[in-house]
């Protein structure tokens, strides 16, 4: 039996509270924002790693983005993955979800013989949730979205997943290869394995592919490949947490909370 080939799509995002909308240009101002791994992708990572724990196999991290993604991708690698593929080319800039998924799919094709493609539920910046279904469409393979758990049958070549629904859960089964999106916060992502920390920083652990490497059709990538038109952008006020903790018996806490709600939001 061939070893299980897992791809995890990882996006590096700015810390949400550090992004500002430029009041003049209405463009996102993220140059000063710290980056992090898109938190839902950490849950996808954990699912991939527990799959590898159970069945063995190889985990490739796949990301489309500028070179500054690299240090954070190496953090994800040190959790226990095997290799990073960074799709990076100025020509990819301005991609909407259509062009993003096309580019990622070219990467997946180039990696080759992939059995399972794992994604986070959505990104914390773009937040469309369209990438996982988009990948499945381009590849014309099945998708299982918002799973909290998954098992693989390598003999039958199927993936069986569990998804929470209103009032219960459903079990879904599809043939491999397939795309899976992972429900945010469904697991606790393991911390980096420090025996891998310096290994993950080695040069050879990362492969960068540009548009030429991917044989990408110029009309499908970047701004040109993106039919979406952004007509406006508005800044939602950042909500500062007050970090007030109510104390006392459950009864007292409920009463106090009800009081606060009545006063502050007039329910």
């Amino acid at each position: 039996m061939a070893e299980l080939q897992i791809v995890v799509c990882v996006k590096v995002v700015p810390k949400p509270e550090e992004i500002r909308v430029d009041p003049e240009t209405h463009l996102l101002e993220r140059t000063n924002a710290r980056s992090e791994i898109n938190p839902p992708d950490m849950n996808a990572m954990e699912m991939a790693l527990s799959m590898k724990d159970r069945y063995g196999g190889r985990i490739s991290l796949l990301s489309m983005g500028p070179p500054f993604f690299e240090p954070n991708l190496r953090v994800a690698l040190a959790m226990g993955a095997d290799h990073i593929y960074l799709l990076s080319d100025p020509a990819f800039a301005g991609a909407d979800t259509l062009a993003t998924t096309y580019t990622l799919v070219q990467g997946i094709r180039k990696i080759g013989d992939v059995d399972v493609i794992l994604c986070g539920e959505e990104s914390s910046d773009g937040a469309t949730g369209q990438v996982p279904p988009g990948l499945a469409e381009w590849l014309n393979i099945p998708q299982l979205t918002l799973l909290t758990d998954v098992s693989i049958d390598q003999t039958l070549r199927t993936a069986r997943g569990r998804r929470e629904i209103k009032g219960g859960y459903e079990i879904l089964e599809v043939p491999l290869p397939c795309v899976i999106s992972v429900k945010t916060a469904c697991n606790e992502p393991r911390f980096m394995d420090y025996r891998l920390r310096s290994w993950a920083l080695e040069k050879d652990r990362l492969t960068v592919w540009d548009a030429g490497d991917l044989d990408a059709e110029p009309g499908h990538i970047g701004l040109t490949g993106s039919p979406t038109i952004v007509t406006g952008l508005a800044e939602a006020p950042y909500r500062e947490r007050r970090r007030e903790f109510l104390q006392g018996s459950p009864g007292e806490v409920v009463q106090e909370l009800a009081g606060i709600l009545r006063k502050e939001v007039e329910v």
Binding site: K15, E17, E18, P189, F191, R241, R242, Q247
Partner: protein, 390 residues
């Protein structure tokens, strides 16, 4: 074999030579001294709150043999060092616990919730999952200058808990007022203040701690920090005892030590009488672990009208609040909290105030006090009491 399995309901444990060697290396052979008398188990405060005590002796035995601990009791230890004070063989029990935890991390077997704690420190530079950009919000109205070695005698290290926890922020503000009252020239690092890594160390992630400590020590060096005052005894301990391999000569003091020095030098005086009976909770990381029992008491005694009364277990024998060793980030069920017992002891003294000198102690003790619903009794940090007497 089948008979053997029936004869015991305990899991069969296998001796692991590699683990044994690793433990010897990590602990410098600390557990080897143990002769299994069991005093540690008898002393450990878990025995006061649980039917089944924390079998410290068993864990020391496992460390000697290189056995893997399987039942999770490894994460109960608050690293209070009460047991060490009584161990007839002088075993560095806390070190052994931390090393067993290091091994548990390497075997990918940490307590649930602790990986998230590590990630919070990694992404946010604080263990409270709070945005790093909001670290100095608490000080917005205080106009504290950013530390400048040319202008300031000390750098005030606020610490993550006093930066983000609303209750602990009051301790930080009180200390700022006292330092100003004494005319001390000081600054802080504001939003750029790095995490000391104490939470990482105490849950035993040795390798990540080394990374945090190296990074943080470098920030202090770049900023020209030589004299530092901390609010939490946990930060103080980690800087004093665990940074030396990484740091280049900055000297940390706990704020009670610094204030005591100011009092001795005549720079700090309390004018306003308070007319209070106060009892004092020795924080483990100030008292037992760093042997500082005098400074906090002297501050209290120098406030006119304050009478210090001691609790049943005080100084070397002080009962831990339950917040050390990473326990601040793990759930302790009601009925198993050391701080409930401590508040009881404090109330028994007839004092008006239970004073502490640590944000963790204040949080744990205040929680217990709220559950107990005692009137006319408060938990306050020494800084808060002292600020009232300026």
């Amino acid at each position: 074999m089948a008979d053997f399995e029936q004869a015991t309901d305990e899991e069969v444990l296998l001796i692991d030579d590699e683990l044994w060697e690793q433990l010897i290396e990590l602990t410098d052979g600390a557990a080897a001294l143990c002769f299994q008398c069991g005093v540690c188990t008898a002393i450990c405060p878990w025995g006061l709150v649980r039917q089944k005590p924390l079998s410290v002796r068993t864990l020391m035995r496992q460390a000697q043999l290189g056995l893997q601990e399987k039942n999770g009791s490894l994460w109960l230890c608050t690293t209070c060092a009460q047991c060490e004070a009584y161990c007839p063989r002088g075993v560095n029990i806390v070190d052994v616990f931390r090393s067993l935890r290091t091994v548990a991390w390497e075997n990918r077997n940490p307590e649930k919730g602790l990986p998230s704690l590590m990630w919070s420190i990694f992404w946010n530079d604080n263990p409270w999952s709070q945005p790093p950009t909001q670290r100095a919000l608490w000080a917005n109205n205080l106009d504290i200058p950013i530390f400048n070695p040319q202008e300031h005698e000390v750098m005030l290290y606020i610490g993550c808990t006093s930066s983000y926890d609303q209750r602990a922020q009051k301790i930080a503000s009180a200390l700022v007022h006292i330092l100003r009252g004494a005319g001390v020239e000081f600054g802080f690092l504001g939003e750029e203040e790095p995490c000391c890594g104490e939470a990482v160390l105490s849950v035993g992630h040795k390798h990540y701690f080394e990374e945090v400590a190296a990074k943080t020590a470098q920030v202090f060096q770049e900023r020209g920090v030589t004299q530092m005052v901390t609010i939490s005894p946990h930060c103080y301990d980690v800087f004093r005892n665990h940074y030396p391999p990484f740091s280049n000569g900055f000297q940390p003091l706990h704020y009670t030590q610094y204030l005591f020095n100011l009092i001795s030098e005549g720079r700090l005086q309390f004018m306003k009488p308070l007319d209070l009976q106060v009892t004092f909770q020795d924080p483990c990381y100030l008292g037992r672990i760093n042997q500082e029992y005098q400074a906090p008491r002297e501050i209290l005694k120098s406030i006119p009208g304050v009478e210090l009364v001691e609790m049943e277990n005080s100084a070397e024998d002080a009962l831990c609040c339950g917040g050390g060793g990473g326990r601040m980030w793990l759930e302790t069920p009601i009925g198993e909290r050391f701080s409930d017992l401590r508040v009881e002891q404090a109330v028994q003294t007839g004092a008006d105030i239970l004073a502490a000198a640590c944000p963790f102690c204040v949080a744990c003790l205040e929680d217990s006090l709220k559950v107990r619903k005692t009137e006319n009794f408060e938990v306050r940090d020494i800084a808060e009491i002292a600020a009232r007497a300026l």
